[in-house]
């Protein structure tokens, strides 16, 4: 009996490359970071883009499900656009920061590390998607806005930790460069998310546009949502 189970175990097929990549991303292993920094193969970069897209899309679909209908598809399309669009807009700044910080990194390595961080961000978001779905049944609209923001914060910390660990070994100013990367990505991402809103729609909204016209900015809207949670009477206003 024991011998049979040992045989079955030894005959098990090796894990799929994507499964290995997901595991390496979540665990943030040193070998994986080394692979990102040392001439990353094109296939790895492609897979990171796919992982980032799928992870963000699944989280977006769950966020959109609070209203249902077309919003599920809209949010599933817009969240990957948000992550990868922000990365594309921020990449020239990342390359400049890496150069100004005198990091021993090629352009390809900077791109790969940034994509790795984005993919880890997306994986954590995908992992937190069921929590958001659970919260949808218990919380009101404005509390859900804060819940989704908190999930993005947790995923952001996970992505940033991979970034910092990778950059720290690349030079004495690696940590400073990491702060620069996070600042640029955070500010650009906040504004892109504002432009691509709505992601989370009030359940009573009758029709939902793919994007709303550009007006105001995220920073004022977050302040308003915080005010609504503290004093719910003002919560009818929609950002």
């Amino acid at each position: 009996m024991t011998a049979t189970s040992v045989d079955v175990g030894s005959a098990a097929p090796p894990p799929h490359p994507v499964s290995t990549l997901v595991d390496a991303l979540v665990r943030d292993g040193g070998a994986f970071r080394a692979a990102l920094l040392d001439a990353p193969p094109r296939a790895l970069v492609r897979t990171l883009v796919v992982v980032a897209t799928l992870g963000c899309a699944s989280f977006g679909a769950v966020v959109g499900s609070s209203r249902g209908g077309a919003q599920i598809v809209f949010a599933a399309v817009k969240l990957p656009l948000l992550a990868l669009g922000t990365l594309a807009l921020s990449m020239p700044a990342f390359l400049a920061i890496a150069k100004a910080s005198e990091l021993a990194l090629s352009r390809q390595a900077v791109v790969a590390v940034s994509l790795g961080a984005a993919a880890r961000f997306a994986l954590v978001l995908a992992g937190l998607a069921p929590v958001v779905w659970l919260a949808e049944g218990a919380f009101g609209y404005h509390a859900m806005v804060l819940c989704v923001t908190a999930c993005c914060g947790v995923a952001g910390i996970a992505g940033a930790s991979l970034l910092f660990r990778s950059l720290t070994v690349a030079g004495r100013w690696g940590r400073v460069a990491g702060v620069g990367f996070v600042l640029v990505f955070g500010v650009v991402g906040a504004h892109v998310s504002w432009m691509l809103r709505p992601f989370l729609v009030h359940p009573t909204t009758s029709s939902v546009p793919f994007v709303r016209p550009v007006e105001g900015d995220l920073f004022r809207a977050v302040a308003r949502s915080l005010g609504s949670v503290v004093s719910p009477r003002r919560g009818d206003e929609r950002p």
């Binding site: 700044a93 400049a96 650009v188 504004h191 550009v214």
Partner: protein
Amino acid sequence: MTSRGFVHSVSLSILRLAAFGAAASLGRPLGSVLRGAVSAPLLFAGGAALAAPTLYLASALGGIAASPSATALRAESALSTVGTLAWGLVVPAAFFSVTLHGATAVALAAVVSALLGVVGVLRFGWDALDFRAQDKAQLLALAWLVTAFGLGARMLWVVGRGLVGGAS
């Protein structure tokens, strides 16, 4: 570095800063774009030029061997770092200037300009002065730092309004 290399590096930095200034004012009337393209190099290159004499003075009085030409090279290096960063920020700056308006846009432009200035000041003085010494050299280094930040703030107020105001 040869004098030709020095001029080339400074010119490149000025061009990069001009591109950043123009990008930060895109989506505004042409006059604002031109004002931004002039203000950004003036702000950072002018700031480096104003901070250089006091840096030389502080290092000479602090007993650090640094000739005026070495100080000029440090200014060029700091300007090059700021120019590289500004060049990298051209795309985000253009994106924000086209899509973000009002007080938040002005605040963002001011904060980014101030951060670039802080990087430039630290890059300029960090290796030239001895911040870890326990004597007069440390006092002079700190005095220079305060002076440099003061000069930067004044430059931002006087010249940078062309850049920051372009976003309003």
